[in-house]
């Protein structure tokens, strides 16, 4: 009944490379499933490419257009090379979240190690992009415009901190939302079982209350699963746009 038990990582195939544990785990398995599903939609939908798309093809095209619209509406045509990256991020996180909603599965996006790694990739990519594109001029980013000189000693550190806090907020937002949602579902689900087993018939009746709550929360969690993937992709695009244009 431990609500955190669902986050345990279980080794499926133990692998050890020079003292480092890189075992194939349930986390890796569901990453594989999520990526496989995403590729199944994208490549499967593009197998019989027809002018009037079927269901799978529509899904593939809509996914692409959804992400490309986010990219182009923020960055303009400059963002074109980043569409595949943002699409990969969005689909990987979205499918990780959605597949995690199936009972007895594992949600790899509920682990800080995964979300932090993804956020660090975004952060480093955006930073290098800014440096490559603007050279040393990139650092003027930390000097806010239209601020009195007297306030600069305060503002510049704030700008720098807010820049370096980006990967933290990006990763914690996703991990915390997913973990909290899943923990809550488990806790309320536990209430139902506890009442039913401890109070007999009355327990069944009272248990309807948390059951109704769990049903609502599951719907909400599907919404969160989408929203968090969307927010991650959107913030990535905003950071890319920020690096492309500085201000």
């Amino acid at each position: 009944m431990n609500p955190l038990h669902q986050f345990n990582i279980v080794q499926i195939i133990p692998i050890d490379i020079s003292g480092g544990n890189v075992s194939f785990t349930n986390s890796a398995l569901f990453m594989l499933i999520a990526a496989g599903c995403a590729l199944g939609v994208l490549l499967g939908g593009m197998r019989h490419r027809s002018l009037i798309p079927g269901r799978l093809q529509t899904l593939a095209e809509v996914s692409y257009e959804f992400v490309s619209n986010i990219v182009y509406s923020n960055t303009g045509p400059d963002g074109r090379p980043f569409v595949p990256f943002v699409l990969s991020l969005f689909l990987f996180i979205l499918l990780g979240n959605l597949i995690g909603m199936v009972p007895y599965t594992f949600t790899f996006t509920s682990h800080i190690a995964v979300t932090a790694a993804l956020a660090m990739v975004v952060f480093l990519m955006v930073t290098v992009l800014g440096l490559v594109r603007h050279g040393l001029h990139f650092f003027t980013k930390f000097v806010p415009k239209g601020v009195p000189i007297a306030l600069m000693p305060l503002m510049i550190p704030l700008e720098i901190i807010s820049y370096f806090i980006r990967p933290v907020s990006l990763s914690v937002r996703l991990f915390a939302n997913i973990m909290a949602g899943h923990t809550m579902l488990k806790v309320f689900g536990g209430f139902i079982v506890m009442m039913a087993s401890a109070l007999g018939f009355i327990g069944y009746v009272i248990g309807l209350l948390p059951l109704a709550l769990v049903i609502v929360m599951i719907g909400f969690e599907f919404f969160v699963a989408f929203i968090q993937a969307y927010v991650f992709a959107l913030l990535t695009v905003i950071y890319i746009q920020d690096a492309l244009e500085l201000h």
């Binding site: 544990n21 890796a28 490549l43 490419r49 093809q57 090379p81 790694a117 490559v132």
Partner: protein
């Protein structure tokens, strides 16, 4: 349709770099210790024993996934969408052209209708004028003919009257002679009767 596959190799290399940095940052000593046991306490998310494996498989799976999306899936989708867009805009252009063509043909037809109508109106006008002329000529002819006939008839009437008037004194004289003989049983000289009748007729005419 030309489509060049975008080649953002940068992002992928950065991904590898990021994972490499993170892996290097992991304390392998602590990791190995944690793997041997006391990993049940606290959140599984903060169990450092499983950081490396997650990063390793994430890099492998997400990296491969990204490469396939970028290299295969996105070009296919983009090509599909661009093909469709090009076709749709091409169809729109053709529809626009057809519409313009139809409008031009319609304009020609309307012009022709106006022209033909004007022509018909002219013909009608000429025809009615001609008809008027013909009618007028005929009427004039008939009038002349009727007038001639009337004149002839009047002349005949005039002659007939003149004749009648010329013969009247003799006839009236004879008649008067007879009447006198009947009533008076006496012969009167015809010259006397004739002059009396003539005088009476003249008096009548004057009166």
């Amino acid at each position: 349709m030309t489509y060049s596959v975008p080649k953002p190799r940068l992002g992928w290399l950065l991904g590898l770099a990021a994972v490499a940095v993170l892996i290097a940052g992991v304390d392998h000593q602590a990791l190995a210790e944690a793997a041997h046991g006391e990993s049940q306490a606290g959140l599984p998310q903060f169990d450092a024993a499983f950081f490396l494996t997650q990063l390793f498989w994430l890099a492998l799976i997400f990296g491969t996934f990204y490469l396939i999306v970028q290299g295969v899936a996105v070009p296919k989708v983009v090509q599909m969408i661009e093909t469709r867009d090009a076709l749709i805009s091409h169809d729109f252009k053709r529809a626009e052209e057809a519409r313009n063509q139809a409008a031009a043909v319609n304009k020609i037809m309307e012009d022709k209708i106006i022209q033909v109508r004007d022509h018909a109106r002219t013909i009608l006008f000429l025809a009615s004028r001609e008809a008027e002329h013909v009618t007028a000529a005929r009427l004039a002819m008939f009038d002349a003919r009727i007038a001639g006939k009337v004149r002839d008839a009047e002349q005949r009437i005039f002659y007939a009257r003149e004749n009648a008037l010329r013969e009247m004194p003799d006839l009236a004289g004879a008649l008067a002679g007879e009447v006198v003989v009947r009533f008076c049983d006496e012969e009167v000289k015809p010259a006397l009767i004739t002059s009396a009748v003539t005088r009476a007729i003249a008096e009548r005419r004057a009166g």
